[in-house]
């Protein structure tokens, strides 16, 4: 056998070995712990209840709310448009595909922000991008928007503006408010008294 064939076969074997050893494309890429720590100290992942509310009302197509609570709590109440991914199943292959959706800001929330923070941490370890945490969670969102408190007369104009936004948002979410008609009000059983002429009664109209 000619030597050139031997060289060629050795080269092919080495290349094949290389392909076996090189990490596959599907392997989850783990972030180095030090890099992960530096993103932990970076606070840009937090979105406030007001920011989220703005985006819900504007029907922001880039917003993808992820509710991490158990399904029973999600059924009782959840933010409009949110998707329920209980924290147990956060890293299943289907959910990883959801988190990898391009052009979407995935915002995690639970009752507070502790579970969402831990889930954010885990997703960042596996290099999933554009994951955010709703600061304060659903409890704070509820207090800020639904149970918004009236401001003193001396409040600054910026505060007043924020307050009026929150009141409008509350009306948006609850459908009830001082200036709007509650949903279903038109269908309520309001009694309209219809007075009819008795048959045979002559009208006394005319001049």
């Amino acid at each position: 056998m000619e030597k050139k064939y031997i060289y060629l076969s050795v080269l092919l074997v080495v290349l094949a070995l290389g392909l076996v050893i090189l990490p596959g494309k599907d392997d989850p890429k783990e972030t180095n712990p030090k890099l992960l720590l530096s993103s932990v100290t970076e606070k840009s992942r937090y979105l406030s209840a007001d920011q989220i509310t703005h985006r819900i009302i504007e029907n922001d197509p880039t917003l993808l709310l992820i509710d991490l609570r158990p399904a029973s709590q999600f059924k009782t109440f959840a933010l409009p448009g949110s998707m329920n991914i209980p924290v147990d199943s956060i890293l299943t292959s289907t959910n990883i595909e959801i988190f990898n959706q391009p052009g979407k800001d995935k915002v995690f929330y639970a009752n507070s922000d502790l579970t969402a923070e831990m889930a954010w941490m885990l997703c960042n370890r596996f290099s999933l991008k554009r994951i955010y945490v709703m600061k304060g969670g659903l409890n704070e969102w509820f207090q800020t928007i639904i149970e918004t408190k009236s401001l003193p007369v001396t409040a600054s104009s910026a505060d007043m503006e924020l307050q009026s936004f929150r009141i409008a948002a509350r009306q948006f979410f609850t459908g009830a408010g001082p200036s709007t008609v509650a949903p279903g009000a038109g269908q309520s059983s309001e009694k309209v008294i219809v007075t009819r002429k008795a048959p045979g009664e002559k009208s006394g109209g005319g001049c």
Binding site: K3, P33, L37, R69, T76, L91, L122, N139, E140, P199
Partner: protein
């Protein structure tokens, strides 16, 4: 061909050598201070309520303050050591955590809020420091350790009464039927002409 290989053996040897070195480097690459917990183990840990400790149970534990050195200097919990979260994985900090582990000490992390502590705690656990707990509370600006309010914990405090019917996306069929029911009005033919008009 043989003559070609012989005359260019050095130049041909370089790419082969580079390839072999690359392969060896990949095989024996140093692992970063690796994660000891898999994803599913981490999820189990996240739900483990025994990983938190209340303010009243701190006796005999090594308390670790994760706030900045400036805030620590202004006041801190008794016997606390300061490891600012930015320096959590610095050599000195790791050395300290290794010492705690060696001595069998339980380290309890606290900060300005429970939220500040959650990520450093989870990171340390994933790196194998299983003797680290987190405080179910925080330090106030007056340097007092107090428990986390219920609204800031994972318990639900929603009062859904303000939502009324909108909370239920489905329409009650009975209600719908009532609303769509039209009142039938009978046409009544007048018995005689009205006496109206001039």
């Amino acid at each position: 061909m043989n003559r070609y290989l012989k005359s260019n053996s050095i130049w041909l040897g370089f790419p082969v050598l580079a390839f072999v070195i690359l392969m060896l480097a990949l095989i024996f690459r140093p692992n970063p201070p690796g994660y000891r917990l898999s994803a599913s183990q981490t999820i189990q840990l996240m739900k483990d309520s025994s990983m938190t400790i209340s303010v009243g149970e701190l006796a005999g534990k090594q308390v670790v303050d994760l706030r900045s050195a400036e805030l620590f200097a202004q006041g801190h919990a008794a016997n606390a050591v300061n490891i600012p979260s930015r320096q959590l994985l610095d050599k000195e900090s790791i050395k300290l955590f290794n010492e705690f582990r060696k001595e069998g000490k339980v380290a309890v992390l606290y900060g300005n809020s429970e939220l500040q502590v959650v990520s450093p705690w989870l990171l340390l656990h994933q790196l194998g420091y299983t003797n680290v707990l987190r405080l179910k509370g925080y330090i106030t600006p007056e340097n007092k350790l107090i428990p986390t309010e219920i609204g800031s914990s994972e318990s639900s405090v929603l009062n859904l009464s303000s939502f009324g019917e909108k909370r239920e996306p489905t329409v009650d069929p009975k209600h719908q039927a009532d609303s769509q029911k039209s009142e039938t009005v009978k046409l009544v033919k007048k018995a005689s002409a009205s006496g109206g008009g001039c």
